[in-house]
């Protein structure tokens, strides 16, 4: 009896050891875990209808791969900041406690506040749109819509669509509107200090609110493709106007001024003052002194100057008047324009050719910094634009 038991036991021991080992091996080695940056590979196709009720409430009925939205927008405050905070609260209320923890970061954490990137699969603050149900996703989009102007929101939708376009055209799952994240650094209030971050591939909105005044910088904005494309029968061209405005600005110069604006001896394969990648500090690599080169805007004709201002507005007016009016006044004052240079780099013989990799254009003011570079395609052939809009003084509300 004991002999049989012994044999059985040895066998049982052997098999249980192996089984336990394999089981645990599967748990430890094969799962891979969830990656903060890896999101659903399924692009969310959303159709939505927004109905105004006349009493300030709008109901959005949308259907997406993440379910049917029952989002009701109850915010209709007159003041921009009040309405934004209302929409932020509305969004937060739709989240689970865990999701709220993910969305809310610390305003005093300068490193976290400077954490953003142009890359598709970088680590970012906040929660991905793809991790939200349809209702919460609509609420997140409502926050973005409020934080941006109509033109800005259109560009935002275009950038999201551009990533879906890249994903569908050979880019794979790392390119998807689902991957874009939203975060609040600090609690949204109408009178306190906090920051809204919306970011993903080719996009970084970093809007700091100081006692209700918004500073929408640094703002990275790019798109591949750079010209019009179609997704779900809708045509988008989120960055074409910006590119056209800068080109028009330089095309209005005669050859002498164009040469003055030419940054001879300098080449660019990307923007100069790019993502801060969690530096925790304001960038220090703006050109200074004699390195600030180009054509001085105050030396231009009124028509040429108007084109410069039009180009500036392409970036700054992506934000509501409550945010952009003061900034436009500051950037385009006579004093500011007397210290603002427009400059370009690339191939002098070819001239300003946005289809040529390395063509670079910028507006460099005492505070304003706008730059655009033509980069080679990451997924598609041809070039695409990378741009930066910064405020040398008021990036992050100057509160790092």
């Amino acid at each position: 009896m004991l002999g049989r038991l012994r044999t059985t036991t040895v066998f049982a021991l052997f098999t249980s050891g192996v089984a336990a080992t394999l089981l645990l091996s599967g748990c430890g080695g094969g799962g891979g875990g969830s990656n903060d940056d890896s999101t659903s590979t399924t692009n969310t196709s959303t159709t939505s209808t927004t109905t105004g009720t006349g009493s300030g409430t709008s109901t959005t009925t949308s259907t997406s791969s993440s379910g049917t939205s029952t989002f009701v927008d109850n915010c209709n405050e007159a003041e921009h900041i009040n309405n934004l905070v209302c929409k932020a609260d509305q969004f937060l209320a739709l989240l689970t406690n865990e999701q709220q923890t993910t969305v809310l970061g610390s305003y005093s954490d300068s490193v976290a506040r400077t954490y953003w990137s142009n890359l598709p699969n970088a680590t970012r603050n906040g929660i991905a749109l793809g991790d939200l149900d349809a209702t919460a996703r609509d609420a997140a989009m409502a926050v973005a819509e409020q934080a941006l102007s109509a033109a800005g929101y259109e560009d935002y939708l275009g950038i999201l669509a551009a990533d879906d376009y890249l994903g569908e055209n050979g880019g794979g799952s790392q390119y998807s509107s689902d991957n874009y994240k939203i975060a609040f650094m600090g609690t949204p209030t109408t009178s306190g200090d906090w920051m809204l971050q919306i970011g993903g591939h080719h996009l970084a909105y970093n809007i700091t609110y100081l006692a209700g005044t918004g500073y929408p910088v640094p703002n990275h904005f790019a798109s591949e493709p750079k010209t019009a494309f179609e997704v779900n029968s809708t045509t988008y061209a989120p960055i074409q106007d910006e590119g056209d405005a800068l080109v028009a600005m330089f095309e209005a110069l005669d050859s002498t001024d164009l040469y003055t604006a030419f940054l001879s001896g300098e080449s660019y394969s990307d923007v100069l003052v790019g993502p801060d990648n969690g530096s925790g500090v304001m960038p220090t690599n703006y050109p200074t002194g004699a390195n600030r080169r180009g054509m001085l805007v105050s030396d231009l004709t009124d028509t040429q100057r108007a084109l410069v201002i039009a180009a500036i507005e392409q970036w700054v007016r992506d934000f509501p008047d409550a945010v952009s009016d003061d900034l436009i006044s500051t950037y385009t004052s006579d004093a500011a324009l007397a210290d603002t240079y427009i400059a370009w780099a690339g191939d002098w013989d070819t001239g300003i050719d946005v289809d040529s990799r390395g063509t670079y254009m910028r507006i460099d003011g005492p505070r304003l910094w706008i730059e655009l570079v033509c980069q080679g395609g990451a997924v598609l052939s041809g070039t695409h634009f990378h741009t930066m809009y910064r405020d040398k003084t008021m990036d992050y509300g100057n509160t790092l």
Binding site: L2, T9, A20, T21, S269, N285, P287
Partner: protein
């Protein structure tokens, strides 16, 4: 306080940069340069990597070559690179042979590599690295300066440190180095311990040896206590691997890595097989010889850790001793835990069966590794080896010990209930 804040910011900045670098390889073609620094006791080595597209943007004259030749590359880099001492004296940079390697793969642009070295004395530090290759022309270009090895700061290639990023208007980097070997020595000891803990083959071999020792002692009338015999065997193994580790690292012996790995697998097959043999036939002397001989083989495998390090002279000897110390310490700890567990199964009537199961498991593992390493196949053993080897080993031994105790209890109960059976 300010220093702490600055340090935190810097660390976070470094972290951010690290996180931002790796995905960039997949997202867009690589466009940054890298300088790898290796600090020797009396010299500094620089390995510079330059991406093809940006290099040709910065130096259009190089565009006439599809692959830029070494001489042209050196002619371009030399005026943009210097290392000066604390007193501002430039160090003589010697071009190290070949390694002007070109990397090309689907995700990255072509990368050129160059190597330089310069002799240093302790009073030269801190050094200043002045480098504006590509950045002098391509304004957005960045060069990441990584410290790959500094023995005194316990920095090695498997966990390099980002020193700085050379960029527009920032082309000088201060290179700090404070001579103190203690950190390096302690890190090497930990690496030695980790090498055993993370190596299922070494662990399985060690446990096999111990099991063999217990089994032999249970069958033969031991003239010495078990712990003393165990120490003899472990000492023989240690002696073997210490000799071969030193000989291999000092370049006195050189065998292909794959051969060594295959030999390690073979030691497992023999050890596992020995557990299947009747123990009356195995003497302590034979087991000690086995341990010594196989120790030699395992020691050569341990030396792989040193292949990535460029250590020389006294630093190398000290590193070797520290690494070995770590190995010895962890072996003794493992023996102290494993021996009582194995011993718990000795009085069990099924001990011989359990020994055979253990022997078969070790033998099969060795066989799988042998096939894997000799033929390049991937077998299920990898799932165990890449997980937590120490856990598997102790889980197995603990399971055996618990079972043994339970069986003893069961047998006692039966005897109590039925004394005549």
């Amino acid at each position: 306080m300010h220093a702490i804040a600055t340090r935190n910011v810097f660390l976070a900045w470094v972290l951010g940069l690290i996180l931002s670098i790796s995905p960039s390889i997949n997202a867009h073609p690589a466009d940054s340069s890298i300088v790898h620094l290796i600090y020797h006791a009396d010299a500094i080595e620089l390995r510079i990597e330059l991406p093809d597209y940006e290099l040709k943007m910065a130096a259009p004259q190089l565009s006439r070559w599809d692959i830029v030749p070494n001489d042209a590359l050196l002619d371009y880099v030399h005026p943009h690179l210097s290392v000066t001492t604390n007193q501002g004296e430039p160090l003589t940079l010697n071009v190290l042979p070949i390694n002007s390697r070109i990397d090309e793969d689907g995700n990255r642009d072509r990368i050129y590599q160059l190597r330089f070295s310069a002799d240093t004395t302790p009073t030269d530090w801190p050094l200043r690295l002045n480098y504006d290759g590509i950045t002098h022309r391509v304004m957005n270009h960045k060069t990441y300066v990584w410290l790959m090895q500094d023995f005194d700061q316990a920095i090695f290639a498997d966990h390099p440190t980002l020193v700085d990023v050379i960029r527009y208007q920032h082309t000088t980097v201060t290179l700090e180095h404070s001579p103190s070997s203690l950190r390096g020595l302690s890190t090497l000891s930990i690496m030695g311990a980790h090498h055993i803990l993370n190596g299922l083959d070494h662990l399985a071999f060690l446990v096999g040896l111990l099991w063999l020792c217990v089994k032999r002692a249970s069958h033969q009338k031991a003239s010495r206590p078990l712990w003393l015999e165990s120490i003899s065997i472990i000492t023989a193994f240690s002696l073997g691997h210490s000799i071969s580790l030193a000989a291999t690292v000092l370049g006195m012996v050189s065998l292909p890595v794959n051969w060594i790995e295959i030999a390690v697998a073979a030691t497992l097959i023999v050890t596992g097989g020995s557990l299947l043999i009747k123990q009356q036939r195995i003497a302590l002397k034979f087991e000690c010889f086995l341990a010594l001989f196989f120790g030699v083989i395992h020691g050569m495998a341990f030396s792989e850790v040193f292949t990535e390090m460029s250590l020389k002279g006294a630093q190398l000897i000290a590193a070797l001793l520290s690494f070995n110390l770590g190995i010895e310490a962890i072996q003794i700890i493992i023996a102290c835990i494993a021996l009582p567990l194995i011993k718990a199964t000795v009085r069990l009537s099924a001990f011989d069966g359990l020994s055979k199961v253990t022997g078969i498991l070790i033998l099969l593992s060795g066989l799988m590794w042998l096939i894997e390493r000799a033929l390049g196949w991937t077998l299920p053993i990898e799932a165990f080896a890449t997980a937590t080897p120490l856990f598997w080993i102790f889980e197995y031994l603990a399971l055996m010990a618990v079972l043994a105790l339970w069986l003893r209890y069961y047998a006692k109960q039966r005897d109590t209930e039925n004394p005549t059976s």
